[in-house]
Amino acid sequence: MNEQIIVTTSPHLKHPTTTQMIMADVLIALSPAAIAAVILHGWYALLMIVVTVACAVGAEFIFNLCIKKSQTVADLSAAVTGMLLALSLPTSAELWQCAVGAVFAIVVVKCLFGGIGCNFANPAVTSRVFLLIAFMSIGGGKFGGDPFTGSYVDLVGGATPLEALKNGVPTTEIPSMLDMFLGLRGGAIGEGCILALLIGGIYLIVKRVIKWQVPVAFIATVFVLSWLITGSLTLAVYHVLGGALVLAAFFMATDYSTTPLNLLGKIVFAIGCGLITVLIRFFGSYPEGISFAILLMNILSPYIEKLCAKRPFGGVKNEK
């Protein structure tokens, strides 16, 4: 019996949570939004999700095979990236574009930097921006006779009601608040149904996968700044419900690899995202600034992390 005894250093207990379980939780949290996407945008949305997720997972699998790295597909992070990317694209995206986006996200943004935990930019967000810039000419997705087809639309597309606001269309002509909440509007397939996103977001908070402070700080920043700039509470609420804000606040600004480690850093990151989003929405030439905001803050993340680091308990200052 003695030969079976295992000797290691402490600790000898492990919390049961694993990376795979965390990623599975994110997939579960995204599923209400995915279901809503299929209900609102039809079977094509389901096809988009399936193709994007399959291509993301397949790309990681083949990449690992090629560089003879142990297989990491089982940690489900590639599936999460694929799902997020699919949900942030409008139905006007062709399936081959979804596939290209998924491969770009996984291979260029994630795997080339060393795989899970090593990428500095959020793969789904970066890929969304890549698709936006690469396929700008392709029209934005619309739902149920969007009245603003004539205006500038893009692959991000989600800001159509916001765009309307920007162009001075009276609020009576844009979708009602309830429609906005349920997702009866144009834009990416997964960003519309705020109800579904909130259900998923609350699930993640309850499961302690994300910190509630991050989405709250992000959304509150956008709300307060929009209110200050427009001077109207209604418009501020539209700015919160419109675009990809809720999707991004719960699922993209809370990404582990690309945000600071400590809680204070995460909050600063979220506030920064909100600030840049508002700046782009009101003063930029794009109707929707979420992707760029997150991408810019991803780059700043290591610095925020360093500045917001907690001082070790009882630690004396380092002499410089």
Binding site: S10, P11, I116, R311, P312, F313, G314
Partner: protein, 451 residues
């Protein structure tokens, strides 16, 4: 520095299966093995030879320095061998093996020590062989010596017992409240500078908290603090902060902020020693773990082998995976069932094979759980990054910048890591590197001087 609330925020499972079980004395073992180093500091020097007959409580080894502790026979019988013992930490120390004569007769010369002032109290505690019974094993008399300088105004009594499974301190507080009370009286008599005695007990032991509150209901300077059951409440710096809001600075001792921490079982032992003169020869310990058939609290002569304890306590229900001295968060693995329990063993935890098998290590996902879990606000990710640097000097500088020295190896970071990274294990490697580097620098300096 202002901080919100309490330090420590990791929920580890409690598994206090034995909290309702008063300790039972086990059948005396046929032999005991007493290593000369069961404490922090210099090993004791044997003063018996092979063939000598000894009785319980007879001194068999003398303390060999200021930070050291004497060792006493825990059974009556014959010294059969003085051998080498490989400690779980890798140090080789001499050890005395005593074959029991089965009588368990007590040494005749044992009498209560004469104590009339602080000086003689410290001397008596030193002579008793007492070391920190919470597990660290720092000689208690050395801690008490600081009181002589008059700097101590608060004594914190550690009854946190934050490790999973272990309930021996809990049982001391419940079953031996009188001993704890007597201990406080002794300290009060000889330590006039101390203004407050604070018990720090995790709130998952309501019975112990109630008992202590009841025992000291009429004492104005004894306080019972119910601490949240969040690991590691029993860590010295954490406990001091959570009971007194004082911060022990880097490189300083609790005495520097006017605090002495003493474990409740140690305190009860001091009372018993001052009144009877029986030195530290037996331990109350918890015998539990996922492989144990019937968990128990036991009173065991020091030096008893684990196999004897397993045999007397009802055996195992599953094959043993890991045998741990202490609890599963900070305990040290034994390499076989033949190893003896020592002064600092407050539990023997035997885990089944399933719990002992480490899950595979995957890549760090930068989730920040370790950073959030660290009770001392250290950054395990920064240490891990520092250890990947090229040059030794760079590594050591970066580790020291991030205050690796503060890490008390409580294991919270490794516990919460979803990728199962060996974080604490890394920190130990880092500390070793720092030590090696400093020795290297000192050697260089010496070589330069001699030129």
């Amino acid at each position: 520095m202002f901080r919100f609330g309490f330090l420590g925020n990791t929920h580890v499972p409690h598994r206090k299966n034995t909290a309702q079980m008063s300790p039972i004395r086990i059948e005396p073992p046929k032999e005991v093995l007493l290593p000369m180093c069961q404490h922090i500091g210099a090993p004791a020097t044997p003063i018996v030879k092979v063939g000598d007959t000894v009785k319980i409580g007879q001194k068999i080894a003398e303390a060999s320095g200021y930070v050291s502790s004497p060792i006493y026979a825990s059974v009556s019988g014959k010294v059969s061998k003085i051998e080498n013992y490989l400690r779980p930490d890798g140090r080789n120390v001499p050890a005395i093996r005593i074959l029991s004569d089965g009588e368990m007769s007590v040494y005749e010369d044992i009498k209560a020590p004469e104590v009339n002032d602080l000086e003689s109290l410290v001397a008596a505690v030193r002579e008793s062989g007492l070391v920190g019974l919470g597990g660290a094993g720092f000689p208690t008399s050395v801690k008490m010596d600081a009181v002589k300088k008059g700097a101590i105004d608060t004594v914190v009594l550690n009854g946190a017992e934050c490790e999973p499974y272990i309930t021996s301190d809990t049982r001391t507080m419940i079953d031996n409240a009188a001993g704890v009370k007597r201990g406080i009286e002794i300290l009060k008599q000889y330590m006039p500078t101390v203004k407050a005695y604070i018990f720090g007990i995790e709130d998952n032991k309501p019975e112990a908290i109630a008992k202590m509150k009841e025992t000291f209901s009429d004492a104005g300077d004894v306080f019972v603090a119910a601490l949240p059951s969040l690991y590691p409440q029993g860590g010295e710096k954490v406990l001091i902060y959570n009971t007194t809001k004082r911060t022990v600075p880097e490189g300083k001792l609790p005495a520097d902020v006017g605090v002495m921490v003493i474990n409740v079982t140690s305190l009860a032992f001091i009372a018993k020693y001052i009144d009877t003169g029986m030195p530290l020869v037996e331990k109350c310990m918890t015998f539990d773990g996922s492989a144990v058939a019937s968990p128990k609290n036991l009173i065991v002569p020091i030096g008893t082998s684990i196999s004897h304890i397993v045999e007397c306590a009802g055996g195992l229900k599953e094959p043993a995976g890991k045998i741990i001295f202490g609890g599963p968060m900070m305990g040290v693995c034994a390499s076989s069932l033949d190893e003896p329990i020592s002064k600092t063993t407050n539990a023997v935890t035997i885990l089944n094979v399933k719990e002992s098998t480490e899950p595979p290590v995957t890549a760090c996902i930068h989730c920040g759980r370790c950073v959030a879990a660290c009770p001392l606000s250290l950054n395990p990710v920064a240490f891990a990054r520092a250890l990947t640097l090229e040059g030794k000097e760079e590594r050591v500088t970066r580790l020291e910048e991030n205050k690796l020295g503060l890490c008390m190896e409580c294991g919270c970071c490794s516990f919460v890591c979803p990728a199962n990274r060996p974080l604490v294990q890394n920190h130990r490697i880092g500390k070793m590197e720092i030590r090696e580097y400093k020795t290297h620098l000192a050697e260089l300096a010496r070589a330069k001087e001699s030129k």
